[in-house]
Symmetry: C2
Subunit: 332 residues, 2 copies
Amino acid sequence: MRATIKDVSREAGVSIKTVSRVLNNERYVGAATREKVLAVVAALNFRPSIAARSLAGRRSWQIALVCDNPSPHYVYEMQTGIRDRCDVDGVRMIAQPYDRGSDRLMSEIEGLIDATHVDGLILTPPVSDHAQVLELLTERGVRFVRVSPGSAPALSSSVYIDNESAAAEMTRYLLSLGHKRIGFIAGHRDYATSRQRQAGYAAALGKAGVALDEALVLPGDYDFASGSAAADRLLALSDAPTAIFAASDDMAAGALASAHRRGLSLPNDLSVAGFGDDSLAGYVWPPLTTIRQPVRKLAWEAADLLLAPEDAPAEQRELAYELVVRGSTAAV
Amino acid sequence: MRATIKDVSREAGVSIKTVSRVLNNERYVGAATREKVLAVVAALNFRPSIAARSLAGRRSWQIALVCDNPSPHYVYEMQTGIRDRCDVDGVRMIAQPYDRGSDRLMSEIEGLIDATHVDGLILTPPVSDHAQVLELLTERGVRFVRVSPGSAPALSSSVYIDNESAAAEMTRYLLSLGHKRIGFIAGHRDYATSRQRQAGYAAALGKAGVALDEALVLPGDYDFASGSAAADRLLALSDAPTAIFAASDDMAAGALASAHRRGLSLPNDLSVAGFGDDSLAGYVWPPLTTIRQPVRKLAWEAADLLLAPEDAPAEQRELAYELVVRGSTAAV
DNA sequence: TTGTACGCGTTATCAA
DNA sequence: TTGATAACGCGTACAA
């Protein structure tokens, strides 16, 4: 039923190896031969078996995305961007989710490598900074590209935005609206991105001569529930903030919900700002002001780096973010 | 570097075939032998190569999820539910997204089958009703399970909720609040689920003796933008509805945004209800009243059916939905 | 209950 | 520029 390379070779009147050469774009194939083979490949709708290729060759034509779940939308955008780039080269993407903090993380990644023979991995935070995982991959000789790493930039290729500058810019924007007491809801401490965003927030306050009030900085977990809970605490303060900057859009949405529950009139009683992939912009009310991170593009670039020739040197690609102003923030 | 079955057999002092027997849970292996082999497998952290297994055996230990993108959350829940079930059997899931209406759909699916040798597919709407695809799979002898199919129930195993009854229940609820003019925003006509939900809406109105006003039924596309646009049209009517029931949560969120933009006071001026995975409940304001469909569980059951023994007869599993009442609806 | 020989579909090596 | 042959790591068929 399934066409094999043997069928193609018979039909085209050449050897199996020649068909293989055409499929892999090797040199030393006559132009006429190549065309004939390609015609037969198309006619038979032939697709090389990934299994056979992985077993016989040096490549498996597969890469994996090792991704935590900050939000379904982030995961979706990462998958889509990577797949878009993979399609260009006829490579398949395997999605491998994980729970940060799971004690089986190492074993799952090693299992992934051994079972699938993937040619490389794309690591998202916080695994992009997981020392043990990075060591394992280096030891095993498996290529990897890191998304938004916080350390050891030279260890591998990576893609990222300048989280610190972005957060500083948002903080300056809120200050420009007249806010003096700006609450900050951080992400989980395992995420370098969260630490970078918090640093940008603190730096901007400092430069503006606004004292950093530790009581206004609360930990979160990048998700709706933790943002909502943190906002509840901030808004219950006797000297509550007039603005809240959350390190993720989901937490910002939680803050908006918290404010709504308390019967606040938004955005007059409270300005809320987020940071992320801007997927919640229209869903929440009022529409969210946020730092837009080009997740799909980051993913595309990560795949691009991973699919680069083996001898290509490690490369760092910084992408632009964007401050998107909407109705969730207002002047005091 | 990577341990192979050969390494295991040498270390355990048995033949390769015996190791293979243990791995595949075949009969006729001595208890002592089995234990020893398992110990070595664990010690070497051995993982069988999917490539070699697919090539040599009848199974590839891989299944694929062929999924359109109604919403990132739906996709995420589907993937998670399927993966949860697959993990039990040591099977890997391949995520294969598609664009409905793409002319390459057939070729992509055939490519997927040929390249990966997957043991089976899980199809979500609207491909679960795509005659050509179903015929291809039947012809090629590839198993498949359909999620929420609208036709030919006996063709394969499938999982679903009773969309028509669910929509009728929601409609009755809105009627019970005193609403007489209830707008309906449908999903894309390719989706059987959308047609079923619309039928339930119409049936409930009929039973209640409320005339169906065609002007209150608008087409949508299951996404935020189309829901927002449809609501704009409904709310611009001279005789606008007092409630809007959208066939998906994303469209309901769009309707809420539309109402907010018009300065309506929610939920007093307009009641809004949705249908879906309930992922937007807290994000939107006021919190969404919706029919909650257990997407992750549907996915789990679909995988369970797909991983059933080959000789198991086709089976239909209907799961329960739930009407979740929240603040987005109010009595007239 | 265990082992031997072979083949799956492709790429690598080497020869022509 | 092409082709023959040996691998890759496992399951299958059959023998012991």
